[in-house]
């Protein structure tokens, strides 16, 4: 009988990655371009072989590494020489001490914003795509592809251009104009699908099973186990930037829930490897009310996510059927965190708040995170006396419409008289 399993690829060099393991049933498979368990359809994750890692030596090796995610190459499914290959070298973004924002929100403990808008294509997606590109190379894919809510499309287009691969990416046809331009400029194919993100995702899953999709690496579908690992680097950087310490509380936006689950995985790996002291931490998830199936399930005490039809300005979070949602619920409950949501009006207000207090212009997803941070403090769910990190995943230039209320505060004639008359002097 023909097998649909990917060919065994035990000879590929993906560093410490040893196998694919089902998160649901634990069945292991050889490393290959596969994302779903043949036994139960559960998601596959990377299983690592960390035997022989010397903790003291590892920390020194990381600190001496490049100022990018590749300083953590020993903890990622990438070859050891990854930093010398053509790629976007994302990561090592600022952990901003957000004292002014903290004061405004009533914090007595330290508040930080991990500002990932500084990545090469201005969102955290460069982290995950960089890992997926290494997997695409290992499996000899010639076309890099994805289903995207916008940010990922740009990250894939840019990474493919740098790596010399063809790109063909799929997005909902009605995305923000800036995101379309930022994805198209790299010269690959950019295809608008008449439907929402969940429709795009479904189409890509079908394309993979079709001969037309042969030789294609879909970063968030058949390369998903490798891709997802890139989000761990957010956790690694936050801990290293805190002086190799775990944050006490962390607020993460949720679309599919992948980033939140990988941040938790990254924190646990650092603990297991002895790179940080094991102490409790709480993880909070942030959604927009117009697409909040995980928050709804959390508040209702349910384990099952009921898919929704998204209706929010936070399009990068508009995934109505979040694949990792059940895991987000598990993590929020296990760590004593919560999942909360804010309205589009609160998102816009939070974008302004972060910009005004910290000089960070976040895209709508960042507005969701900061809006939820505020709501969590106000509702007593998050303790403002504890050290807290909120993640801004992207640049406000990509979602300018959300900040359309911002504009000239005055128009004057070029004279001092006019300046004073306007109350500016």
């Amino acid at each position: 009988m023909a097998t649909a399993a990917p060919a065994a690829t035990s000879t590929v060099d993906l560093g410490p990655a040893a196998a694919l393991s089902c998160r649901e049933c634990g069945t292991e498979f050889p490393l290959g371009p596969s994302f779903a368990c043949l036994e139960c359809f559960g998601p596959l994750e990377i299983a690592y072989d960390y035997s022989g890692y010397d903790t003291a030596g590892l920390r020194a090796r990381i600190e001496a590494g490049p100022a990018s995610i590749w300083r953590y190459a020993p903890l990622l499914p990438v070859p050891a020489e990854v930093a010398s290959r053509p790629n976007l070298n994302p990561g090592w973004t600022p952990l901003v001490a957000a004292d002014r924002l903290g004061r405004e929100l009533g914090f007595t403990g330290r508040l930080h914003v991990k500002d990932d808008s500084g990545n090469p294509t201005h969102s955290f997606k460069d982290r995950v795509v960089a890992c997926a590109v290494e997997a695409a190379r290992a499996f000899d894919f010639t076309t890099l592809s994805c289903s995207s809510t916008g940010n990922l499309a740009g990250a894939v287009g840019a990474a493919a251009a740098r790596a010399g691969l063809r790109s063909c990416v799929f997005i909902p046809h009605d995305l923000e104009h800036a995101k379309i331009v930022m994805a198209a400029v790299y010269g690959g194919d950019l295809v608008g699908i008449e439907g929402n993100y969940d429709d795009v995702n479904r189409f890509c899953s079908e394309l993979i099973g079709d001969p037309a999709g042969e030789g294609w690496g879909f970063v968030n579908v058949n390369l998903r186990p490798y891709y997802g690992e890139g989000s761990k680097t957010l956790a690694f950087e936050i801990c290293e930037q805190l002086g190799w310490r775990l944050p006490e509380q962390i607020v993460v936006p949720i679309a599919s829930g992948s980033q939140l689950t990988k941040i938790d995985k990254g924190l646990r790996e650092l603990i297991r490897l002895g790179l940080v002291e094991d102490r409790p931490y709480r993880i909070f998830g942030a959604q927009a009310t117009g697409c909040s199936p995980v928050a709804e399930a959390f508040k209702a005490g349910r384990d099952v996510i009921r898919p929704v039809k998204p209706d929010t300005i936070a399009k990068s979070l508009a995934i109505g059927n979040p694949a990792d949602g059940p895991y987000v619920l598990d993590i929020a409950r296990r760590t004593g965190g919560a999942v909360e949501d804010v309205t589009d009006a609160e998102v816009v207000e939070a974008i302004g708040l972060l910009a005004r207090t910290e000089g960070i212009f976040a895209e709508t997803a960042g507005g969701v995170t900061i809006g939820v941070l505020k709501k969590l403090v106000e509702s007593g769910q998050l303790d403002p006396s504890r050290e807290t990190v909120a993640i801004n995943t992207g640049d406000g230039l990509k979602t300018l419409d959300a900040a359309a209320g911002a504009g000239l505060t005055a128009v004057i004639r070029p004279s001092l008289e006019s300046f004073r008359a306007a109350g500016l002097g």
């Binding site: 649909a4 649901e24 359809f41 995207s148 479904r202 079709d210 579908v221 998903r224 059927n321 694949a323």
Partner: protein, 92 residues
């Protein structure tokens, strides 16, 4: 009712490598039972021990996610196209 069912790569071991098969049934549950009669073992891949659709399996009938309809009780119109897709995602 007869429906055309698109089979994802990871289940084609049960359909001799075919990406599309036909199955009979008035509801999705009946279609899956019919699939299993003709492709032994495929039903256990789609349904858990309690007979519910597995958490990471998405099924679409004529482009509509059955979770927005009646799940396994979703009616299958004659000539319907059914897609079975493992759950995956992007975004944050």
């Amino acid at each position: 009712m007869s429906a055309t069912v698109r089979i994802p790569t990871i289940l084609r071991t049960y359909t001799d490598g075919r990406s599309e098969v036909t199955a009979e049934g008035a509801t999705l549950a009946e279609v899956i039972a019919d699939l299993d009669r003709n492709h032994t073992g495929i039903g256990a891949r789609l349904l858990d021990d309690t007979g519910k659709l597995r958490r990471f399996v998405n099924v679409y009938v004529n482009d509509d996610d059955v979770r927005f309809a009646d799940g396994l009780a979703t009616e299958i119109p004659g000539g319907a196209g059914i897609s079975i897709i493992p759950a995956v995602a992007g975004g944050c």
